[in-house]
Symmetry: C2
Subunit: 177 residues, 2 copies
């Protein structure tokens, strides 16, 4: 068994544009990361596959469709730009949360393309995470239908300890958080 | 959101006779419970329903079976005694682990009858746990077939954050741990 001394851990936190993952990050900062620790927090964002964006935009037509000019190179470029902007936005928000709650913690960021379920599991192994933190129901509605439950998948497939944090329903109304 | 100050948390740890739950407890003591904290660790053991013991003993005949004298009151009493002894043994081992790794932490114990999945979910609510810690694959073989995956069930049904700790396979050989 390779136990890690407290305060020298690599804590992998899966973040996305949902409130749930930011709540998980906050909970982790308040409850897992010790003050004056040497923990490294690795913020991981998975850029979802294109199918999700096309579905979200309601433009899920195939490029061989006669009306498929919607998927011109400009459209793809715009989608890529959109995905990159979302990734930046999520990471900025996550880093701000870290600074606000835990000024001293060392933070790294990682953005990877792919299905969040695969990306998170792969990164947990590759980065030798000591613990993985995920929000529950990080993907709602259409995205959940496409991507399934990320937290369930991770809990079953990641070897390191997995902390699943649910956002309390009582504060679910504060959309602007 | 009702965040709890670090060091005043109620950490519920589901323990059983398997190595996985003791590993989860150790990991929790090393990684979640802060030194000099006011955390309370609540060790919870669910005494499994009788069906499990009868299956384990290979004597799963029904009492209306002509050869059902095996299920005399003496047999039931012996089973109850066995279950109580196992519970004592598990709790002693768990308390020793706590003392060894974290002398100062406040420890409470709770033994409840029932399917571990139900017991753990109910207790997490009832005891207002701030976090639930469970080992993964706490039930192997026959018991798993009867009881299903406890960690999955808890992750899906408990409202508080759930930490699922898997025992590394590399040390799985040390049965006497």
């Amino acid at each position: 068994m390779t136990d890690v001394a407290e305060g020298e851990r690599r804590i992998l936190v899966a973040v996305d544009e949902g409130e749930e993952s930011m709540h998980a990050l906050s909970w982790c900062l308040k409850n897992i990361v010790a003050q004056n620790s040497k923990d490294t927090l690795i913020l991981l964002y998975a850029k979802p596959p294109r199918a999700v964006f096309t579905a979200l935009d309601g433009t899920g037509r195939r490029s061989e469709d006669p009306s498929g000019y919607l998927f011109s190179s400009e459209t793809w470029a715009a989608m890529e730009k959109y995905a990159a902007d979302v990734a930046d936005c999520v990471m900025e928000k996550a880093k701000k949360t870290c600074r606000d709650l835990h000024q001293d913690v060392k933070v790294e960021t990682k953005v990877e393309d792919g299905d969040p379920r695969d990306v998170i599991c792969q990164m947990a192994e590759q980065l030798r995470a000591d613990v993985l933190v995920v929000g529950s129901h990080g993907y709602g509605g259409i995205k959940r239908a496409f991507l399934g439950s990320v937290s369930n998948h991770c809990a079953q497939n990641v070897k390191c300890p997995v902390l699943i944090v649910k956002k309390p329903k009582t504060s679910a109304g504060s959309k602007s958080e």
